[in-house]
Symmetry: C2
Subunit: 309 residues, 2 copies
């Protein structure tokens, strides 16, 4: 069975900044779970988020003198793909070796074409990087063309668009590597976004949701299952409210209704549920959402929420 | 013919800091040269340096408050592989398309096992990052375990070992991708160095010379030719001195003698010449060193220096 597994940011580090040793520990734990699935004989493609890491890089660039040229956001995403991908590949091979599995992990830095015609997705809504004073925001807005929005917690934050992914450029590469028996690690941070303009594909300063990009990749690879691993136990109605109910199984029809009722918050469970719905609708196969530590049982449908037609 | 082409740092940017637009321009020029070689029907593996880029990242991390945890050097190398690899892949595909060639470039973040038994290679000799005051150096030495050396130009710089590469972990991946018709971009910055300790491979804070790593990769891939492209026209005796003589052809025996006489400086032409000698001695095939802009002619032996048995 070919399984695409999307790992949340918690697979690498929590949102509070931590040292390199802590990162290795978190990655190793996550890869231990994943390696059990591979040891069962499944083909696996791993994808991952990059929120805390891209935030760290942007903060470091911001600490440089204001006159210094800064890498654009697409380049920062490419950096996190190299960084996190290396840690995952290295830790995964170690965990596989422990379990007697001789397989090589391969990092596939991934580009993704986004929908440049959708005005909704092209609105700058996604805050990135740190909070600035009004004066700093004005300077950066002039110098770099950045767009800022007032942060409810004070100050101003840069906002970028979060357009829909429509095609993963590295699908053929990933297929070739799967055929060769490798474990590809791809679509990191949702991929490096490219938009078509004047007949050419150009990198854009935007953020692609990593679950939506992973779902697209799973569809394009004709995966048998799409699994989203995160830091909660599955999908719940009235999450953390009166009448909280965890779903063990749900149909896309039920979930779409709950999604439209606003049950799942935008930056969190929302895109996970939407990316599962998209995968199931496109393939007729099942999707599962659950806790990273239960990876093995979530994939078997023994934990988390399984979503089918 | 399978050709491994190593690109110098000048393929991406000169040592004076430049903006993202300049980087794209430099990469596009370099990839235009390379695409002509691919358009001729050759299989190509590209490798690249990362000196200015890793320097930039270290400087950005250094601008963060001293209490902030910093990524280790191996992680910074992994970041530059993602960053530079993405730019090269994207620019190369555009140049290939212009020439009517439909081939996909693939970034292969690469790990390299270094010789951990060689005491010479394990001495911290390679300066990285910026210059520090004595006080800063003392703090960082205590907190991070970094080793510092006085900089002849003033201040103190961190020094790391530059051990010999002995095995490229991603050779099978790169072979599989070549067979699939892809153009792999690999061994960026000499690769992420790993050393064996207690039976495990662990990342180490060291710098692998990118020409030596590229030569090793060319040997392991059984390449038909190894080409080092840089910002000078080839190998010269008495370079920039009285009696300067450019070599059009040389044998490994002649070159080894000149190398041992100290004709080629350590951080510059030295490792390029040594990596060529190693490739020719291991394979019996030819190596060429020349200017990036002459790529096409250097590979044909019409420019630069060709080194044979």
């Amino acid at each position: 069975m070919l399984i695409v597994i999307a790992l949340g940011g918690n697979a690498i580090q929590s949102s509070d900044r931590r040292g390199v040793e802590d990162q290795w520990r978190a990655v190793s734990n996550a890869m231990a779970s994943v390696s059990e699935v591979i040891a069962e004989g499944h083909s696996v493609v791993l994808t991952h988020g990059n929120g805390p890491q891209v935030g760290f890089l942007l903060e470091a660039f911001d600490s440089l003198p204001m006159t210094e040229p800064r890498p654009t956001l697409d380049l920062a995403v490419a950096m996190t793909q190299g960084w996190i991908g290396f840690m995952m590949a290295h830790a995964l091979e170690r965990e596989l070796t422990k379990r007697g599995v001789r397989k090589r992990a391969v990092v596939v830095p991934t580009r993704v074409i986004v929908n440049s015609d959708d005005p909704q997705g092209w609105k700058p809504t996604k805050p990135i990087g740190r909070s600035y004073t009004r004066e700093e925001a004005e300077v950066l807005s002039k110098r770099m063309g950045w767009i800022f929005k007032e942060d409810p917690r004070g100050g101003y934050r840069r906002v970028v668009p979060s357009p829909m992914p429509v095609k993963i450029l590295e699908v053929d590469t990933i297929s070739a590597l799967l055929q060769g028996g490798f474990v590809p690690i791809a679509a990191g941070g949702g991929g490096i976004p490219l938009a078509r303009s004047n007949g050419e594909l150009r990198p854009v300063e935007a953020v692609v949701d990593k679950d939506l990009a992973s779902s697209l990749l799973a569809v394009e690879l004709r995966a048998d299952k799409f699994v989203v691993l995160t830091d909660v136990g599955g999908v719940a109605i009235n999450y953390k409210r009166l009448g909280e109910t965890w779903l063990r199984r749900a149909s896309t029809k039920e979930l779409r209704k709950l999604y439209e009722e606003g049950q799942f918050p935008p930056g969190s469970m929302g895109p996970k549920v939407l990316s599962c719905i998209k995968f199931v609708e496109a393939t007729g196969k099942e999707c599962a959402i659950g806790h990273l530590e239960d990876a093995y049982r979530v994939i078997k449908g023994e934990a988390g929420t399984t979503i089918g037609e």
